[in-house]
Symmetry: C2
Subunit: 208 residues, 2 copies
């Protein structure tokens, strides 16, 4: 099955144009992503993560799969140091870049930068209020399952790419897509869950 658009590209352009932002660090990160063809959540999802965080007011946010810190930027911007934020990536060079970007944006207060297996790193934290999953898609379910006890009451689990270019419509076509579809069904069963059809699909779930 071919890739399909979750959102109409012209609609994305309209919303993007409204979400103007004059922070040069944000622009630099977006330009780097474009140059390296590095997958980031983008500004529309970023602003949504920011708003959800502002509404939730978490004390602890843990990211698994931070890349060079783009989603972390939005969490940090919402927190403004009022809660702890853990970024993790298995690549040291990504985390080094994330650190530099967040420092430059003056958003590194109360941010912890970790290199290694994100699920193992997250296990060391208790009372996670927001767990953000953006690592290997085939490991989402493992992460949600392994970290259940590390989540606070009514914690949020947010996961990116849960529609995988629309490929979840035919989950049998690959192991990866099947794993994402299974993760979605697992979350619907065990958490208060919805999937927001924005960009590549954002799962939003609250612990019951």
């Amino acid at each position: 099955m071919d890739k399909i658009f979750i959102n109409h590209p012209e609609i994305e352009k309209y919303i993007f144009s409204l979400l103007e932002d004059d922070d040069p660090v944000l622009k630099e990160m977006e330009e780097l992503a474009e140059k390296l063809n590095f997958p980031i959540v983008g500004r529309i999802v970023g602003k949504l993560l920011y708003l959800i965080t502002k509404i939730k007011k978490p004390k602890l946010v843990v990211e698994i799969g931070s890349g060079f810190g783009y989603s972390g930027y939005w969490f940090a911007k919402a927190l403004q140091g009022s809660g702890k934020l853990v970024l993790s990536d298995y690549k040291g060079e990504n985390i080094q870049l994330a650190k530099e970007f967040l420092q430059k944006a003056n958003l590194d207060k109360n941010v912890i930068f970790e290199v290694g297996d994100g699920v193992e790193i997250a296990k060391r934290y208790k009372d996670i209020d927001i767990l953000f999953l953006d690592h290997e898609k085939s490991r989402y379910k493992e992460a949600a399952d392994a970290l259940k006890e590390n989540l606070s009451k009514e914690a949020l689990v947010i996961a990116d790419n849960v529609l995988w270019y629309g490929k979840v419509l035919k989950p049998e076509q690959s192991k990866k897509v099947k794993a994402i579809d299974e993760f979605n069904r697992y979350m619907i069963k065990h958490f208060d869950t919805t999937i927001i059809p924005v960009r590549d699909g954002l799962l939003l779930a609250q612990k019951r």
Copy 2:
């Protein structure tokens, strides 16, 4: 300009199939909407309103343009009587239906049903934590502006249909579309705002 899909219809079908719900009242409301061709936010937006409300934990939610209570159902389900919910519609028969549906679903505790001009009704309430706009699209900006002082600190304003089938891409084509585009820009300027490209566009904003 023709209508365009904000979301790919197959994607909507996938998410809808995951959001199974065995409440017969919910199904009855959805069937009535289909039969009457009555515009409701639908289950994907409904579940998102539910989750946002669960995260926000509002003491007071006010709806302008409740129709027969479909979005109200999701707010009431999230609140479970722990906060007050005001439904309003200019048509008495809609509000009568809303009352019957919410009673049948056992979700009418702490729900107030009002008939009349929603903006005028909302003005009588102070410290609104979530204001939901779903009335005449040309009056969204007026409502947001008139009710600013009635919103609590960090209140949310949520508005439906802010992409109007994609017509906002060419706002000059009609007064109504121009009004929606102006509302979006007004909100971006005065609130912490994003537009979620789900169904017909859901604006989510927090008072600064």
